[in-house]
C-alpha cells in the first residue's frame, strides 16, 4: 500500500542571478514496509527532495501525497501530518540539550497532545527496546555519537509514523557507530515493517535497502546492484 508519494516534483534556486534546477519532474513512490535509499553527489538535491516529501519545503511544481491525500508544507495541517505520520532523522542529532534522552524521545508525543507522563513512559519503553535502557536519563552531551543518533531515531519512531525520512543519518558518525545505526534501521524495517526513505552517501549500506535510487541532473534513476 502506498504510504508516501511525490509526483513531478520541480524545485529550483536562484544563485548569483542563475537559476539552478535541482529537481526536474522527479517522482517517487514509497510503499508500506519499504526501505528506499537515495544516493547522489553533494548538492544534487537529495536533501531538497527529502524536505519536500517531509512537508518542510514546498515544490515549485508537482504534488506530494501522504496516505493518498495531497498536501504541502504551507497547508495548516502540515505540522499535524509531520507529527503523526512522518518521522525525521537528520545528519546532526538535533536533540534538545536541556532534556534527557527519554524526554527528547517523548517530545513528538507531547507535541501531539499526550500527557508528559504517558509520553515519557512510552519513550522509556521504546529506548529499552532499542538497547538504550541504561541511557534513559542521560543528557545528549553524556551520550556517544551513535547513541545520540539512536535516540534521535527513537524520537522519529515514537508516534509510530507511516514513514521515517532520514537525511544522511550516519553522515556524522564513525564506521562503528554508523554500522550500529544502519543495523537498527534494517531491524526496524524487517521486524516492524517500518518504511524508510534514507538519503546517504554510503553506497555499501544503501545496497541493503529494498530500492536504491541515484539522483543526478534533478532526476531519480534506480540503481540495480550486480
Amino acid at each position: 500500500m502506498l504510504c508516501l508519494a511525490g509526483y513531478n516534483l520541480c524545485k529550483s534556486y536562484i544563485d548569483s542571478d542563475q537559476s539552478i534546477h535541482v529537481l526536474k519532474d522527479t517522482s517517487l513512490e514509497v510503499q508500506e514496509a519499504e526501505m528506499i535509499c537515495i544516493t547522489g553527489q553533494s548538492g544534487c538535491g537529495k536533501s531538497t527532495l527529502l524536505h519536500i516529501l517531509g512537508l518542510l519545503d514546498k515544490p515549485d511544481a508537482g504534488q506530494v501525497l501522504i496516505g493518498g491525500r495531497e498536501i504541502h508544507s504551507s497547508m495548516p495541517e502540515a505540522p499535524l501530518v509531520r507529527n503523526t505520520q512522518l518521522g525525521f532523522v537528520f545528519q546532526f542529532h538535533y536533540l534538545v540539550e536541556d532534556l534527557s534522552a527519554k524526554e527528547n524521545v517523548a517530545l513528538p508525543m507531547i507535541i501531539g497532545g499526550k500527557s508528559s507522563a504517558v509520553a515519557i513512559k512510552h519513550a522509556s519503553e521504546l529506548l529499552c527496546n532499542l538497547g538504550l535502557a541504561e541511557r534513559l536519563n542521560r543528557y545528549p552531551n553524556q551520550l556517544s555519537g551513535g547513541e545520540q543518533q539512536r535516540v534521535s531515531l527513537a524520537r522519529a519512531l515514537i508516534n509510530s509514523p507511516k514513514i521515517v525520512l532520514a537525511d544522511e543519518p550516519t553522515g556524522n558518525l564513525d564506521p562503528e557507530h554508523s554500522a550500529e545505526v544502519w543495523q537498527m534501521m534494517l531491524k526496524l524495517n524487517r521486524e516492524r515493517g517500518q518504511a524508510f526513505v534514507i538519503v546517504t552517501h554510503d553506497r555499501d549500506s544503501a545496497r541493503l535497502a529494498s530500492k536504491t535510487y541515484n539522483l543526478t541532473q534533478g532526476k531519480l534513476s534506480p540503481i540495480v546492484w550486480e
Partner: protein, 407 residues
C-alpha cells in the same frame, strides 16, 4: 496552555538550576534586579517621606482650628458653649484652647521671631503636644517655657536656662517710642516634633503667662480640635458640619487648607519619580531583548527541530517566554527585596540627614507598602514581558530548511 508548554514549564520549575541559571541570563538579571531595586527603593522612601510628613504635620498642627470671625478673643463663657455644642461629635478626640501670638525670643544680640502658644496646664484641657517634649518637663508652671529644638540650638539654650521673650505692643506708644512688653522665662522643656517650621519657632507657656505678657483679659485666640485617627482625612467635611452648628460668629479651618497642597505636591513628586524610574526598568529591558535574541540564536536548532516535529511557532514562543519570563519574574522579586534592603539601609544610616529647612522634616524614613510593591511588580513585569515578547517574534521568521541545512 498546550501539553508542550506544560511540559517545559514543569521542567523549568522542577529543575531551575539547570534551566534558568544560564550565562546569557546574567546581565539581564542584573539589569532587572538593579533597576527594579532602585525603583522600589525610591517608591519606599518617597512613601516614607510622604507618610512622615503627613504624620508630623497632623501630629504638630491642629486638625481643625476654630477662631472668632471678627478676630476677637474667645471668652471662657463662649469657650464653654462651643465645647458643649461639640461634645456630641464622636469624631473629636480632644479640644484645646490656646492663645497664640508672634513674639521675639532674645539672647544677647540674637533675636529670633517665634510663635508663642499659651495653653491651660491646670488639667482642665489636654495638652496635645506632650509627646514632643523630648527633654525636660511637659507640664508647665507660671514662669516656665518650652522651646523648639532648633530655636534652642540657635539661641544656645538648654533646660534650666533663662529666655527673654519680647512682645512689641503697638498699642502702647509713648513719647519715647514703642515700649515692648518683655518677660524672662525658665526653659522647662525642649520641643521636637520633627516638623522643622514648628521646631524652629515654637514657644509654649502657660495661659496665664501669655495673658500677662500680651496684656489681655482671660480669653483664647483659638480652639484647637484634634480628630480621632480614622476621621483625620474627613476634616474638611467635619469642619463644614461644625460650622453649621456654631454659626457665622466662628470660622473653622481644617488642616487641609494649610497642608493638603503640600502633601499633594509630595504625592505627585512620588509618582513622577516612579514614572521616571520606570524608564530604568525599560532600559534594562534592552538587556532582556538582547538575552532573548541570544537564546533564539543559541536554540535555533532546537526550535527548528521542534517545528519539524509539529510544534507551532506560537507554542515555541510561549515555551521560551516561560523560561525567560520566569528568570525575569525572579529578578523582579529579587529587585524588590534589594529595594526594601536599600530603603531600610537609607533609613538607618547615620551619615546623611535631610535639611529640615528645605524638606520640612529632617529624617529619612521608609514605608514598604504591599500595594506599592504590587504596583512595582505589575509595572516591571509588564515592561519585562513586553521586552520578552518583542524579540520572540523572530521565531516565526526562522526558516527550518535553512537551519537544517546549516546547523
Amino acid at each position: 496552555m498546550d501539553k508542550l508548554q506544560q511540559f517545559f514549564l514543569t521542567r523549568y520549575l522542577k529543575a531551575p538550576k539547570r534551566n534558568l541559571l544560564r550565562f546569557s541570563f546574567v546581565f539581564m538579571t542584573l539589569g532587572i534586579v538593579l533597576s527594579v531595586g532602585i525603583l522600589s527603593a525610591a517608591l519606599n522612601l518617597f512613601e516614607g517621606y510622604e507618610r512622615s510628613l503627613k504624620m508630623v504635620l497632623l501630629g504638630s498642627l491642629p486638625h481643625i482650628t476654630i477662631q472668632k470671625t471678627d478676630a476677637e478673643y474667645i471668652s471662657p463663657e463662649e469657650l464653654d458653649l462651643i465645647v458643649k455644642q461639640l461634645a456630641a461629635s464622636s469624631e473629636i478626640e480632644s479640644t484645646t484652647p490656646v492663645i497664640t501670638y508672634s513674639v521675639m525670643a532674645v539672647e544677647g544680640t540674637k533675636v529670633r521671631g517665634a510663635s508663642l502658644n499659651g495653653y491651660d496646664f491646670s488639667g482642665r484641657y489636654p495638652f496635645p503636644y506632650a509627646n514632643y517634649i523630648k527633654k525636660g518637663s511637659a507640664s508647665l508652671h507660671s514662669g516656665e517655657i518650652i522651646i523648639g529644638k532648633y530655636l534652642a540650638k540657635e539661641l544656645g539654650k538648654k533646660v534650666g536656662d533663662t529666655l527673654k521673650i519680647v512682645y512689641p505692643q503697638l498699642d502702647r506708644i509713648s513719647a519715647l517710642g514703642i515700649f515692648p512688653a518683655e518677660h524672662n522665662y525658665r526653659v522647662a522643656g525642649i520641643y521636637n516634633s520633627g516638623f522643622y517650621e514648628n521646631d524652629r519657632s515654637m514657644l509654649i507657656c502657660t495661659q496665664t503667662d501669655a495673658e500677662a505678657l500680651l496684656n489681655i483679659n482671660p480669653g483664647f485666640a483659638k480652639l484647637e480640635l484634634r480628630l480621632r485617627p480614622s476621621h483625620i482625612d474627613d476634616a474638611s467635611i467635619l469642619a463644614v458640619s461644625m460650622q453649621n452648628k456654631l454659626g457665622v460668629d466662628y470660622s473653622l479651618y481644617p488642616w487641609t487648607i494649610f497642608s493638603a497642597g503640600l502633601l499633594k505636591l509630595v504625592m505627585m513628586e512620588k509618582w513622577l519619580i516612579f514614572i521616571v524610574f520606570c524608564f530604568l526598568v525599560l532600559i534594562s529591558g534592552i538587556n532582556v531583548i538582547s538575552a532573548v535574541a541570544t537564546i533564539i540564536l543559541d536554540k535555533k536548532n532546537e526550535i527548528a527541530v521542534l517545528k519539524t516535529l509539529g510544534a507551532s511557532s506560537a507554542s515555541i514562543r510561549k515555551v521560551l517566554s516561560y523560561q525567560v519570563g520566569l528568570v525575569g519574574l525572579i529578578a523582579i522579586i529579587l529587585g524588590q527585596v534589594l529595594g526594601a534592603l536599600l530603603s531600610i539601609f537609607v533609613e538607618h544610616q547615620g551619615f546623611y540627614h535631610l535639611k529640615g529647612d528645605v524638606y520640612f522634616i529632617d529624617s529619612l524614613t521608609t514605608a514598604i507598602l504591599p500595594l506599592n510593591q504590587l504596583i512595582v511588580f505589575g509595572v516591571s513585569a509588564t515592561l519585562v514581558l513586553a521586552c520578552i515578547y518583542y524579540p520572540l517574534r523572530q521565531i516565526d521568521k526562522l526558516q527550518i530548511i535553512e537551519i537544517l541545512r546549516n546547523p
